[in-house]
Symmetry: C2
Subunit: 244 residues, 2 copies
Amino acid sequence: MARRRQIYEGKAKILYEGPEPGTIIQYFKDDATAFNAQKKGTINGKGVINNRISEYVFTRLSHIGIPTHFIRRLNMREQLVRQVEIIPLEVVVRNVAAGTLSKRLGIEEGEMLPHTLIEYCLKDDSLGDPKVSEEEIACFNWCSHEELQDMSSMAIRINDFMCGMFAAIDIRLVDFKLEFGRIWDGDYSRVILADEISPDGCRLWDINTGEKLDKDRFRRDLGGESEAYQEVARRLGLLQNDDS
Amino acid sequence: MARRRQIYEGKAKILYEGPEPGTIIQYFKDDATAFNAQKKGTINGKGVINNRISEYVFTRLSHIGIPTHFIRRLNMREQLVRQVEIIPLEVVVRNVAAGTLSKRLGIEEGEMLPHTLIEYCLKDDSLGDPKVSEEEIACFNWCSHEELQDMSSMAIRINDFMCGMFAAIDIRLVDFKLEFGRIWDGDYSRVILADEISPDGCRLWDINTGEKLDKDRFRRDLGGESEAYQEVARRLGLLQNDDS
Ligand SMILES: Nc1ncnc2c1ncn2[C@@H]1O[C@H](COP(=O)(O)OP(=O)(O)O)[C@@H](O)[C@H]1O
Ligand SMILES: Nc1ncnc2c1ncn2[C@@H]1O[C@H](COP(=O)(O)OP(=O)(O)O)[C@@H](O)[C@H]1O
Ligand SMILES: [Mg+2]
Ligand SMILES: [Mg+2]
């Protein structure tokens, strides 16, 4: 493998310079963290599976007209993507109460929300990714009003699509997190979907048994993390042929 | 004094049935609490001063067309107000970073905000009055969209008015909290300003020295709480004649 420059090492992925300008390589690690990296561990084979699941979801999202950074998968753990200027917000979409929402508002986990909620968190580990309001996003100019509109309408469409996709394989999409980034075309920029979509950033519950098939198994010490991630990939039809 | 029925005892006030239907009496106590009532104490004379300051502010707000619950002050510690159906939200207006905003977003206390921010907290002590988004307010129907609009536009006007009022007495209005309630007229309801406006729910800093003239003296064990509250009342011209 040719030598290449590492751009960034994050909690779950490493970014390398890509073969052409404006591209980067996402390398998916097995490392897992929770509670703002206070808890650390590994989930065997997670990187391989997340690389595949994210490829699968991003490809299908592009088919319904969602612009994404995904170009192509390179190998078991790597994918080539367009380099973006990450917007420092995590866009969280929730269909069912769970996690911090349950805790903050005193709503029992598993309760269906009266309607889908979007929330925004500032991507800043040192502050614990605090939830921020649209007004605060405007006040501190973390992105423009138009960008926020674009992200929220994409998030709603992505949610509808993924609810359908997971329902088809008997999985309830409880909530998930998205990241978006800016790409420039001369003086103009537009927002595209970036990062990854995988059981690391989604809550996925088996529709029949309620079993958790996501990172909550790791967060809450439930065991069987690798098996849960594999089960999601298997139901999506991604485990037949173990190619490159 | 005639016997009267107590409706509610809160952290800082007691509510009694008023003389006519649709009215109640707010009795201002010296009790002070902080950090969701984990810290408790008294501030000598606070009830008397808050009753006067709140009367002063509510009266002047009604002169600029803000509808309020205030009817008249009855004596040193009591005021007669219109009974409302309290909307379970605390409306917080911030001009300068301080308190929980500073902590959550990592902005130093005292930094002027790029523009005024409004935030909403669910009035629920058992949950620690969590911050909620406009979308969550709509989702769980804590008030209607129109009510939220009315509250936020009143909050902005109240902020402008109070910034001016405090600037005139060399005080910087850093932030403050409002409560609103519904009054019914047949099938129709409208929203009016309720509760109190006093150094209990405002951050007030001396413009020249930066000295805190509000409940942060109690929260942060700075001492001199009574004197600080008195100083605000004195500057507002409320301490000349010790009537009733
Ligand atoms: N297309 C992209 N261009 C540039 N940066 C990206 C892109 N997609 C994702 N990123 C960023 O790369 C990092 C991915 O690594 P990860 O381990 O998830 O990091 P982190 O610990 O910061 O979440 C994230 O910081 C993410 O915001
Ligand atoms: N006009 C009004 N009608 C009915 N309730 C009111 C009115 N104004 C304020 N209240 C409520 O009365 C209580 C005032 O007492 P307080 O000690 O501040 O209580 P708390 O501990 O709940 O904040 C608050 O719960 C407030 O929401
Ligand atoms: Mg990440
Ligand atoms: Mg109160």
